[in-house]
């Protein structure tokens, strides 16, 4: 038997725990009030263009992304703007947000709400990128990088492959899996649109082979679409990392500090492809996404189609409530997600899952001294030395940390996962990355 493709360097295999993989996507009822944070993309927060008392429809533009790396925001609900004020975000800090009281569900007239699948791609390359920009599409894998920026290939570079990330290597999460199964056709048209925007002939959809149904389903569907290939991959974390996925699917290595376009690749998530389909074919902005609510103690692990701005409490209620012995509620998966400081915070464009951990599982054991076993170095998919970088960050020796390529860290957490001394390696790597990033920016 031929062994399956995967990336070569490092990696770990945490327990998969995909409890919600067979739960079909359900539409969540509308919330009473939607809180839409303005900072929902990786770059500059959007600027509000509505004011208190304004009536808004579903899909109406409410905040503009004016900087180069920024994205538009659309009202996910219809109703009245109550206020534009600070709201507590998932970290507990106050950030600006638009509060909309929900009245009915009136959609903007320009949006095609019919269920028919539009297969004909009529827009040109420029129009597609423009539409994606207008609709505020960002990468739904979690990093929320504005998609239109990704599609603007810099001069002198040529994209050769579009790689679609259907890996979903984070344990527990199943939202991408369900999208591939239930919205496969739409997603493939989205891939076709992205291919047209990038002017590439070949697209590879990478899927780990713990999702055989999705691989089968998409392989069948993709027969009708020329240039799209489905690639089954061996299960290994963090295969969903951009650079790891490129290595696994087309066997190219992105040089340190460079973007995937350097090796002729552009990577996009399956959720993003679906959002692109909605935006280009249906003129529907990014106002909802699929969110997994899961955990060992959750009574009904589910996948919900949720409007942006819905409070996390409502998702948990729909999954039959918060279990008694909950220790942490995590935004994202167990490897890269962050614990929420309050469950009243809203779902944003970047929330792929809500993971509920039992208190005995969630507690972090006390760190012990480093025993120099070098396991962290073995599993680092970027070939870094996490123990050294964490130490340098802790001691605030940032110039050395920069030389040791701390900025290459993808924050996958494999080092911390594997560390037998339970050292907080990732925590200090994140701190170091922030500080070094700040240093680099001030130097410019």
């Amino acid at each position: 038997m031929k062994s399956l493709k995967t990336f070569t360097r490092g990696g770990v295999h945490p327990e998969e725990n995909k409890f919600s993989e067979n739960a079909a996507i359900e539409a969540l009822p509308l919330p009473k009030q939607a809180v839409i944070p303005l900072g929902q993309n990786l770059g500059v927060p959007s600027k509000p263009i509505v004011k208190k008392g304004d009536e808004v429809k579903v899909g109406q533009l409410i905040a503009k992304g004016e900087a180069f790396i920024s994205a538009n925001l659309h009202s996910p609900v219809s109703g009245k703007v109550v206020k534009i004020d600070d709201a507590i975000d998932s970290s507990g800090y106050r950030r600006q947000a638009i509060f909309v009281d929900v009245i009915d569900d009136v959609w903007d007239d320009s949006i095609d709400t019919s269920p028919t699948i539009v297969r004909q791609i009529s827009l040109s390359k420029q129009e597609i990128i423009q539409r994606i920009k207008e609709c505020g599409i960002v990468g739904l894998g979690g990093a929320t990088f504005p998609t239109h920026v990704k599609l603007m290939v810099p001069d002198g570079k040529k994209a050769e492959y579009l790689i679609i990330n259907g890996v979903e290597c984070e344990p527990y999460l199943t939202s991408d899996h369900r999208v591939m199964l239930e919205k496969g056709e739409e997603m493939l048209i989205g891939v076709k649109i992205l291919m047209k925007a990038l002017e590439v002939e070949k697209a590879v959809i990478g899927i780990e082979n713990n999702k055989p149904d999705a691989i089968r389903h998409l392989t069948e569907l993709s027969q009708a679409y020329t240039g799209i290939m489905v690639q089954a991959l061996k299960v290994k974390y963090p295969q969903g990392g951009e650079k790891q996925l490129i290595k696994a699917t087309v066997n190219r290595e992105v040089p340190s500090g460079k973007l995937p376009i350097e090796v002729g690749c552009v990577v996009s998530n399956v959720g993003t492809a679906l959002a692109v389909y909605d935006a280009v074919q249906k003129n529907k902005p990014l106002i909802e996404r699929v969110v997994t609510v899961t955990g060992k103690s959750v009574r009904k692990p589910s996948n919900f189609m949720v409007r942006i701005g819905t409070p996390v409490t409502e998702l948990i209620a729909a999954a039959q409530g918060l279990p008694e012995n909950t220790g942490k509620v995590i935004n994202g998966g167990p490897m890269m997600g962050k614990a929420l400081t309050s469950i009243d915070v809203p779902i944003t464009k970047g929330s792929s899952g809500i993971l509920i951990m039992k208190s005995e599982d969630s507690r972090r054991p006390a760190p012990k001294p480093c025993i120099r076993c070098s396991k962290c170095t073995e599993v680092c998919p970027m070939g870094l030395e996490p123990f050294l970088l964490a130490k340098l960050a802790k001691l605030a020796i940032y110039d050395k940390a920069e030389n040791e390529k701390i900025m290459d860290c993808i924050e996958c957490g494999s080092c911390q996962f594997t560390c037998p001394s339970q050292l907080p390696l990732l925590d200090f790597l994140r701190l170091g990355k922030q500080r070094v990033g700040l240093l680099i920016r001030t130097r410019k």
Binding site: D86, I88, S91, G92, Y93, R94, K338, T341, S342, R363, R364, P367, K394, P424, D427, F428, R430, L431, Q434
Partner: protein, 314 residues
């Protein structure tokens, strides 16, 4: 035998003589003339090498002092906070200068969000580093400006002058503090400030750096400054400024009259080491304080002596 002895002695003597001549000329050629005063100044400095003066170490400070004395004929901007006025006088004497007396300073913790005043809503179990916790989340009590209680300031202190109080979860400064400013730099939230030590260690300061509006600030912490401006209005010396819903007392202008302490509705203004006040027949605010605030918060001398306040000078 004698010949061998004589020969080797002679060779060595000649060789030694020749080399010493070479060494003499080399030494003349590459002579480094160092001002002898640098050594003298260095000798009187405390040798803590804490960097509190703004230079990497005591030796460096001595060099800069001598240079400044030669070029500018004064010691402006140079101060050894560890040695204080005594040491600076000695330094000035060596350099034949006069030095202005500087008020001694001390680090002040401007947060009173203790475990009782700002109860924890969530539990943090990550690494004990304020810098990291600050980048991760707002804080266990929910205040995004307040002390995280993980002790970066304690680690930064070279003088054993700052410790965590396990009961309150807040750091406490003792009188070993030399105002080197290491903790000020270490605190990611800018809570620690160097303020005048004043006579008998008496100090008045706003023990809060929360810039939120009154409502949200008070929600997270019972002793937050709510920006009501009462102290600003009552201050006869214009020492108090209001900015971003927060009062700030200028220690240069403050005459320690304690009027602001009395009017503060949330007990955010602290007075330290004052004698107890004469009891007044005005118990309304007292009752509120007794109920809502625990021992370590209280800086009101009528109730508690100054020794029990959160910055006890041991």
């Amino acid at each position: 035998m004698n010949e061998i002895l004589l020969f080797s002695l002679l060779t060595l003597a000649l060789l030694g003589g020749a080399l010493s001549v070479i060494l003499y000329f080399v030494a003349q050629k590459f002579k480094v003339i160092e001002d002898p005063r640098i050594d003298l100044v260095d000798d009187v400095l405390p040798k803590a090498n804490c960097g509190g003066c703004g230079y990497p170490g005591c030796r460096n400070f001595a060099e800069v002092s001598v240079k400044s004395a030669d070029q500018k004929k004064n010691l402006e901007g140079l101060n050894c906070p560890v040695g204080g006025n005594d040491v600076m006088k000695q330094v000035a004497a060596i350099l034949g200068l006069e030095v202005e007396e500087k008020e001694p300073m001390i680090a002040v913790i401007r947060c009173n969000g203790s475990k009782a005043n700002s109860p924890a809503r969530i539990q943090y179990d990550g690494p004990a580093s304020c810098a990291f916790a600050h980048s991760l989340y707002a804080g266990e009590g929910g205040c995004q400006f307040g002390c995280l209680g993980l002790g970066d300031c304690v680690v930064s202190c070279d003088f054993d002058a700052i410790h965590m109080n396990p009961e309150t979860g807040l750091p406490v400064v003792n009188d070993k503090c030399v105002a080197c400013g290491a903790c000020v730099k270490a605190c990611p939230r800018g809570i620690i400030e160097l303020r005048n030590k004043n006579k008998k260690d008496r100090r008045i300061f706003v023990s809060c750096v929360n810039k939120e509006k009154g409502g949200p600030a008070k929600k997270n912490c019972s002793v937050a400054c709510i920006g009501c401006s009462k102290c600003f209005q009552v201050c006869p010396y214009e020492a108090i400024t209001m900015a971003d819903n927060l009062a700030y007392i200028d220690y240069e202008k403050c005459k320690l009259c304690r009027k602001c302490v009395e009017v503060c509705p949330t007990d955010a203004i602290h007075e330290l080491n004052f004698p107890p006040r004469k009891p007044k027949p005005e118990p309304a605010s007292e009752i509120k304080t007794e109920a809502g605030v625990t021992a370590e918060t209280a800086s009101r001398p009528p109730k508690k002596s100054a020794k029990e306040t959160n910055e006890t000078q041991e």
